[in-house]
């Protein structure tokens, strides 16, 4: 027998640099998961430096985060003025005039081990022209403005979806801050003016604030946003730029008043040189125009955004610049970058908050020991790289799978060379409708199918096993599925009424 090796134990002090969504999500999660241990968690933030906070729409994984922290859903929704979200509507992506919803749920049901969309392709070839979304309950419900909780019984059609939220990220940050401070996170107000590093190892040892205060820690979490105060400015971890695949480099954001009931979905409308988001909250609508500055000026982009608002703007339009890509090493030495300091992927699929959540989870999983074994960072970086690259490929698909040729921007996107992994995926789907799946990566088969079919990547052939059923019986089965979706959706309450019913309405 070998000796039982006593571990050196985890690091005992953490300093989170930056107090945006990333900083406070990290602080809240660490304070909860490490409670009862003698690990000090501090967060330094400056009120001078604003937060970007564009990520107001989420994906269903956020519910797991909230549940783990013990949030009461109605209370959380009231305080963040949240609405429910069943998916994202994409307008004008495949062609001008097209619209599809990428829902949180699968289409139809598998039969004889063959995915539903294969039968859909077979019947399409036979002349049954109903869009795939007619076989999705969350899409049908979203279009009708309905919402209810999914049914726990997997036999029920009402179990076939999941949901997320659309909320005010600033308010969510405040909510998390109160939670974290209540659990002992010490907030330090101040601007960082100096970073001390160990002369040999290069590890960050302390930061100095404008007040002259010096804060030491063993582990630093860099949530300082795009500039990467520690990860880049101090440690020069490097940045992989992906603008050749995702050429948009600016966004202009503005809020306007809600008119009418909030829809239970986000909208992303493709424009001449980018796309516009619309995120309905309880009290207002968040809007933004993501665009490529090589093709359109800030002024025109702003005008394009403002012109199409539901109502007059509540705020002055604010331009944000970004470079799409990923920090080469998100964890370098004793600094872990989380949020925009780790990389930037445009909010087309509401992934920003999810990537933060994932990073926090992985940080806990690979939480460093005092001996700073390098394998923690190596494996953390390998896993995060995979996630970022796979989200990237999924976003690239939205731009590349288009027939639009009405502007230079779309001509570029349609004809650009995309990552090999994506080319292979698209060709396989185009040939026979199979989705390449993976273990680590947030978007599952149903998401890829939604975007492929929504953007006119329709398989040439279907799975030969579909021929087990006669055309008549499939016609009948498909009609029944459409009816079930419609009936189930119509029996759900209106979204706004549901929010009120569960006590989530903000006053």
């Amino acid at each position: 027998m070998i000796q039982v090796s006593k571990t050196t134990g985890p690091v005992q002090s953490v300093l989170i640099v930056g107090g945006g969504t990333a900083g406070w999500m990290t602080a809240a999660a660490l304070s909860h998961m490490l409670q009862g241990q003698q690990i000090s968690i501090q967060l330094v933030e400056s009120e001078e430096i604003g937060t970007v906070g564009v990520g107001e729409a989420t994906v269903p994984h956020i519910r797991f985060f909230n549940r783990t922290l013990g949030f009461d859903e109605a209370d959380f929704m009231r305080r963040t003025k949240a609405t429910f979200k069943l998916g994202i509507e994409f307008c004008n992506w495949g062609r001008l005039g097209d619209a599809y919803i990428h829902p949180f749920g699968a289409f139809g049901e598998d039969m004889e081990g063959v995915p539903f969309h294969q039968y859909w392709v077979r019947m399409l070839q036979a002349g049954v022209q109903y869009p795939i979304e007619d076989y999705s309950l969350p899409v049908t419900a979203a279009r009708l403005g309905r919402f209810a909780y999914p049914d726990a019984d997997p036999e029920q059609i009402k179990s076939t979806f999941s949901y997320a939220y659309q909320f005010d990220a600033g308010l969510y940050g405040g909510y998390l801050r109160a939670y974290a401070e209540h659990r002992g996170v010490k907030r330090i107000q101040g601007k960082i003016v100096g970073v001390d590093q160990h002369p040999e190892s290069g590890f960050v040892t302390a930061v100095t604030l404008d007040s002259g205060m010096r804060v030491e820690a063993e582990l630093f979490v860099d949530c300082s946003g795009f500039r990467g105060l520690l990860i880049e400015q101090a440690l020069e971890a490097g940045y992989d730029t992906w603008t050749h695949w995702l050429p948009c480099d600016r966004a202009v954001a503005v809020q306007c008043q809600s008119i009418g009931p909030a829809s239970p979905y986000t909208r992303a409308t493709a424009r001449e040189s980018g796309w516009i988001w619309r995120i309905p909250l309880q009290h207002r609508v968040g809007n933004g125009h993501v665009y490529c500055s090589s093709y359109v000026s800030d002024d025109i982009a702003t005008e394009t955004l403002v012109k199409q608002l539901d109502s007059s703007p509540l705020t002055d339009p604010r331009v944000i610049r970004f470079t799409t890509g990923k920090r080469r090493k998100q964890w370098s030495k004793n600094v872990v970058a989380i949020g925009l300091s780790a990389g930037f992927l445009e909010p087309l699929e509401s992934t920003s908050i999810h990537l933060i959540q994932l990073a926090v989870g992985r940080l806990l999983e690979f939480f460093p020991q005092r001996d700073w074994n390098p394998m923690n960072a190596t494996e953390y970086n390998r896993l995060m790289d995979l996630e970022y690259e796979r989200v990237r490929d999924f976003l690239v698909l939205h731009y590349h799978a288009t027939e639009r040729s009405d502007t230079e921007f779309w001509n570029y996107c349609r004809t650009m060379a995309v990552p090999d992994s994506l080319t292979q995926r698209m060709e396989l789907f185009r040939e026979r409708g199979n989705v390449v799946n993976y273990r680590d990566g947030m978007f599952l088969d149903a998401s890829w199918i939604a975007v492929y079919l929504g953007q006119r990547v329709v398989p040439r052939h279907y799975d030969p096993r579909c021929d087990k059923f006669s055309e008549n019986s499939l016609t009948y089965k498909l009609a029944a599925l459409r009816n079930n979706c419609r009936n189930a959706a119509q029996s759900m309450p209106h979204h706004q009424d549901f929010i009120t019913k569960i006590g989530a309405h903000a006053h």
């Binding site: 039982v4 020991q369 074994n373 394998m375």
Partner: protein, 494 residues
Amino acid sequence: MPIKQVVIVGNGFAAWMTASALARALKETVTMIRVLPATDHAPDADDSLGVTVNAESSLPAMLQFHRLVGFDENELVRNTRAGFSLGTAISNWSQQGVIFNPFGEVGAPLGPVNFLHVMLRLRDEGQQLKLANFSLAALCAQAGRFSRPVMNDHSILSTLEYGLQLELGAYTEWLKKDAVTHGVVQESSRFQQAALHQSGTVTHLVSEDGRRFSGDLFIDCSGPSRTLASQVHAEKFASWSQWMPCDRVTSSITPASEVPQSFVLLSAKDHGWLRTIDLPGRRYEQSYSSSAHGHNMSNENSSSGSITYNIGAGYHPLPWQKNCIAMGGAASVIDPVSSLQLHLFLAGVERLIALFPNAAECIQESVEFNRQSSAELECARDYAIAHYKLNGRAGEPFWDACRTMPVPDSLNHRIEVYKSTGRVVMHDGEVIDRMNWVALFDAQNVRPVAYDVVARGIPLQLMNEHLNSIRQTLLAAVATMPFYPAYLGQIFSQ
């Protein structure tokens, strides 16, 4: 043009399994499946999976495969006198005694902490915990009890996972009958030559008596000799012999009167290792050794009738090219220490069904098939090599050479990550569960130096209570199950 005619070359298990599975799963599309013998091999020298073995064991995934193609498991078990398997017992590789590597779940998470890390923390506190004590499959195997999982989500007995142990010859006969019943045509004349179109696609096969067999898709199930694929694919064989040192296997069958074991036993010996598979009334032993270490294991434990075969571990990176696919041993030969050669073959058949082309060009299908195959093989390869690399038998030349050999970077990474963090690296093509890696690490005395930080915050008493409660629940459940021979007897007498 859809694929209508399939021609399979081979005489063994792989050929008949492929024929039967395709005939069942694709009966609406494929109108003709022919099987052409590749050689005159006796049926008891079946190398179609890669390594010539008399018996094999499956992973639990085989049951899904059987469901997919529509096999009746009871009928199969009854007619082939098969047995059930609950995992693998690993004996004397590093640890004295036996470590059980079970199928299915092990333990249960405690709040946000997964079971492994609960265990790691308690081990760090000095407790000698065995993973197998918290596995339903392992406790069943230990108690000599078995019954299939019940269909009730609330019962712990619904979580049991099992595989099958099979005599390959009997299984092949059963498959042959099944295939013929489903319209597969067994040709008597042996394959001789493939005729190629100038594009490189196969147009037809010619048999020794000069008959032509045309088809849309051609499948080589002839094992490592690659009788068909070697005429079609220009590609080289990538050897794994530098990592899988055993190049000989000696097989024997002995009558056994004692109660059969519901698991596979892997026992390390001075110059190699021994694999034992128990079926009702018979014990199958396969003794693996390395000619480089000069010791002929066939002299040990041998009974009359034992035969020695060569093993050439390695793979062909592109098993599917144009309209010709190499399956099983014709595509890869993996060391059976992994217990994965049957699984990899079945996964290939399942993949072929899922990607069965709708037209003879099938470029996209072959690219994806090969991509998935490579990903799986790489994971399986690492798992096999880890058995050798991590051994603790110092002072024995064969094992010393294994321990000091350089291994693939991907395996080094897995080992280092586990040692440093207690986390198991899982890739896209992973063929075994996380806990199987952990059990192997345990068996090899590889212990992490760290565990989940969250686990530190949970009171020890709570953890001990958690473990106790799992163990009591499992033991109580096991006590309600029938004894394994009785359960088998019940199936046999139906």
